[in-house]
């Protein structure tokens, strides 16, 4: 229904997708400007960085498209509109995600795909079948890991209702982080996003295998193939957090 109602106003929809495309392209413009001033960042070339940017953005684009509305959970708890979802015979999470479904968020996905495609034409890689197969696996597992972060963040909003912004630190912050080479960041930082919040499995670990680069904190190479497992584990944990959140929910009563 949200898709159909959006598509009724075609010009408005096109403008919204374009705006979304441009807003998200700003990050890439910054990276482009940095490379107009320097030939490498953290030892990575522009094409390699664009590959990291593209993989992170496509994964995040899929997640934002499917779960972008989950950010509003705190608002729903505050104004009591969540109550209506609880009495309907469908999973609350699906309803929250589907309500106000923003098809305009297609812009980010398209922009990421464009950069990823461009980087693939510029990279000089020894493509093997394994690397080729790893690419779609990485994008989908990455989307699932970002999805788990989104849902865990939303679950947190059951307790801290007006703290939606803290979620951006992990979602948008995580995205920004993964758009740059891991060698740019301090060792402790890289350890944190590998083992505490497993964002590194979204793209860094598999992408570095594709690029033929070592991981800066010396991990075994086969970890590049674990993103689906990490994604499954993160989704289970996020699901548990969500359930705990729904259970503790008390209506505003107004």
């Amino acid at each position: 229904m949200w898709i159909r109602s959006t598509l009724v106003y075609r010009t408005s929809f096109a403008a919204a997708v374009l705006t979304n495309f441009l807003v998200t392209a700003l990050d890439f413009v910054v990276i482009w400007m940095m490379f107009s001033q320097a030939t490498s960042l953290g030892g990575y070339s522009f094409a390699e960085t664009a590959f990291l940017y593209g993989t992170a953005s496509v994964s995040f684009g899929i997640t934002a498209l499917l779960l972008g509305s989950v950010d509003d959970l705190g608002l729903r708890v505050r104004d009591g509109s969540l109550d209506a979802f609880l009495v309907r015979p469908a999973p609350v999470l699906v309803q929250v995600a589907a309500d106000r479904f923003g098809l305009r968020r297609l812009g980010r996905f398209l922009q990421g795909a464009l950069v990823l495609g461009w980087s693939l034409t510029r990279l000089d890689l020894d493509w093997t079948l394994v690397k080729l197969l790893l690419l779609p696996v990485m994008l989908l597992s990455g989307a699932a890991i970002f999805g788990a972060v989104y849902v865990a963040g939303a679950a947190f909003q059951f307790w801290a209702q007006d703290a939606a912004e803290a979620q951006s630190a992990f979602t948008f912050g995580g995205l920004t982080l993964l758009q740059y080479p891991p060698t740019v960041f301090a060792r402790d930082f890289v350890i944190g996003v590998t083992f505490v919040v497993p964002l590194a499995f979204v793209n860094w670990l598999p992408a570095l295998y594709v690029l033929g680069r070592p991981y800066p904190i010396g991990l075994p190479w086969w970890l590049a193939f674990t993103p689906p497992l990490v994604a499954a584990g993160s989704c289970v944990l996020a699901g548990l957090a969500w359930r705990a959140g729904v259970r503790s929910y008390r209506s505003t009563g107004s």
Binding site: T19, Q37, A163, A166, V184
Partner: protein
């Protein structure tokens, strides 16, 4: 004299309104701090490759990052603030009530926005800057005079930021829905403010243009004063004049648009 008291009360209201949301403020501080770390590392990598880029050394570039995160909310770099309210009131016709009030509409909103900015400068500004100073070698000045000069530039920056958003919001009188304009304005502003990359470090003609647009008043001017890139009375006054010039032009444009809007446009729902 009496009207001054009204605006002071409005400003105090703006301050209190935002002070109410404590966990939102804490969440915002956390997010600005995380982003500060991420951007700081990317700048370190860039300035490793290009020492002295844009006339900043590495410590100055890092300081720029944390000043940006500290000022982001006070200068409304991510959200249009009052302008969202105002666009909604234009859309549903409530603005007619505002126009009948015996106060000046532009000054009313400006007072409220200054109050909000004052709260966000101290609540959301100090913590990220302190964390940044503890985690990285920053080039913060020891001279209190420089800090006062910096605060002066921040106040002017808030006024310019307000004036830009006021003009954007008024477009709703003609377009009926101003949210697209606000979004586009935010997009352009975010880029030309220099939050993502200092305007000094932007390449070629793009950088030249960015440095004379009104958004240069927001972050670049206060940052340059604090970093000592503009020091001494003459250079600080030049920076103030640049900001004040844009403030006057944009506030005047807002007045002009407002009077032609109220004369020509039929209010909805009236």
């Amino acid at each position: 004299m009496g009207s001054c008291r009204v605006y002071a009360a409005v400003a105090a209201g703006g301050f209190r309104r935002y002070a109410t949301y404590r966990s939102a403020t804490a969440a915002g501080v956390f997010t600005n701090t995380v982003f500060g770390f991420i951007v700081a590392y990317t700048y370190l990598a860039l300035w490793d490759e290009r020492p002295g880029l844009g006339g900043y050394d590495q410590a100055q570039a890092l300081t720029y990052v944390w000043i940006g995160q500290a000022l982001a909310q006070a200068l409304s770099m991510f959200n249009a603030g009052f302008a969202v309210d105002m666009v909604a009131r234009i859309r549903n016709g409530d603005i007619a009530v505002d126009l009948y009030r015996p106060v000046d509409l532009q000054l009313w909103y400006l007072a409220g926005d200054l109050g909000r900015a004052a709260f966000q400068l101290f609540s959301r500004g100090l913590v990220p800057l302190t964390v940044g100073a503890l985690a990285f070698p920053l080039a913060l000045p020891g001279d209190p005079v420089v800090w006062l000069e910096f605060l002066g530039a921040v106040v002017l920056a808030v006024v310019v930021s307000f004036a830009i958003r006021y003009v954007l919001a008024l477009s709703a009188f003609w377009l009926l829905d101003g949210s697209g304009v606000l979004q586009f304005g935010g997009l352009v502003g975010m880029f030309f403010t220099g939050l993502l990359l200092p305007l000094n470090a932007m390449p070629g003609a793009l950088g030249d243009i960015a440095r004379v647009l009104p958004w240069a008043s927001l972050l670049q001017m206060p940052a340059d004063i604090l970093l000592g890139a503009r020091s001494g009375a003459a250079e600080v006054l030049m920076a103030y004049a640049f900001q004040a010039g844009w403030a006057v032009v944009l506030l005047a444009a807002g007045r002009l648009l407002q009077s032609s809007a109220t004369r020509k446009v039929v209010l909805q729902g009236g």
